[in-house]
Amino acid sequence: MNATATDTHEQHDSHAHGLSDATAIKIALILGVMTALEVSTYFVDFGAFFMPVLLVLMVVKFLTVVSYFMHLKFEHQMFKLLFYTGLGLALFVYFVALATFKFFS
């Protein structure tokens, strides 16, 4: 079950980046643990760390899925540009818009 797809499938070289099934399962387990940690905030009081922990976990999970499952980490620069431009713009405009509603104050 280890993927050495490159040998068999030359024209799709650029897409078969060493994310083997085993690695994928490992990453999924890590993601699962992080989710469990997130859910635990519902049962255990984290006090002042509540928000930062959740937000950090969210961002880490997001980036992990994007980088590995969507293998953006291994993709062409242009693809990163396309996706992260959208993401960045979304963050920027909506943060600013929410700020004008005094969301963060």
């Binding site: 999924a28 989710t35 899925v65």
Partner: protein
């Protein structure tokens, strides 16, 4: 590339819906509030299911790249099944909330909550339909053609739906107003 562009564009779509929700969730003149009716244990299971479906999707993509038709079909089916139960979970959740007094038009929280999660649910449903159709096409048509790329593109879409849920789960469910 077109898929990445589309996903970049979708970021702004979900960003808008999430912002609307964040803005409005505490503005309640009547009816239940978010923290009063959310069922976190159940939604956590849903989130796990969607996360695991991302894993099975990765497995489908790697199988397709190996030209392993049998496993590709298998993992596509498993992913679709997990996705379908997620959708079922959402249908359950909506029905339960409705019974507890949270109609679509009850208050600002309800309108923006149902719109946001409903949009996500529609995306998941479309994803499941694509997965199953792809599986159907693969079994009808033994010819491989460009299938690994199609599987991969649907995979990208599926993971995107998953990452949107990662954000929704944290911002909407876990962090109360």
């Amino acid at each position: 590339m077109a898929m990445w562009l589309f996903l970049g564009s979708e970021c702004l779509l979900f960003g808008g819906l999430i912002s609307t929700y964040m803005l409005y969730r505490g503005r309640i003149t009547q009816g239940p509030r978010p923290s009063q009716i959310f069922d976190i244990p159940f939604t956590s299971v849903s989130s796990f299911v969607l996360l695991m479906s991302s894993l099975t999707m990765v497995l489908a993509v790697t199988s397709a790249q190996r030209k392993d038709n049998v496993r590709t079909k298998l993992w596509l089916t498993i992913t679709a099944l997990l996705g379908a139960t997620f959708v079922g979970g959402q249908v359950y959740e909506f029905t339960a909330f409705y019974n507890e007094g949270l109609g679509f038009t009850t208050n600002l929280f309800s309108s923006s909550f149902y719109t946001l999660t409903g949009f996500h649910g529609v995306h998941v449903t479309v994803g499941v339909i694509m997965l199953l159709s792809l599986r159907g096409i693969i079994s009808k048509d033994k010819d491989t053609g460009d299938r690994p790329e199609v599987v991969e593109l649907i995979g990208l879409y599926w993971h995107f739906v998953d990452i949107v849920w990662i954000i929704i789960f944290t911002l909407v469910y876990l962090i109360p107003a």
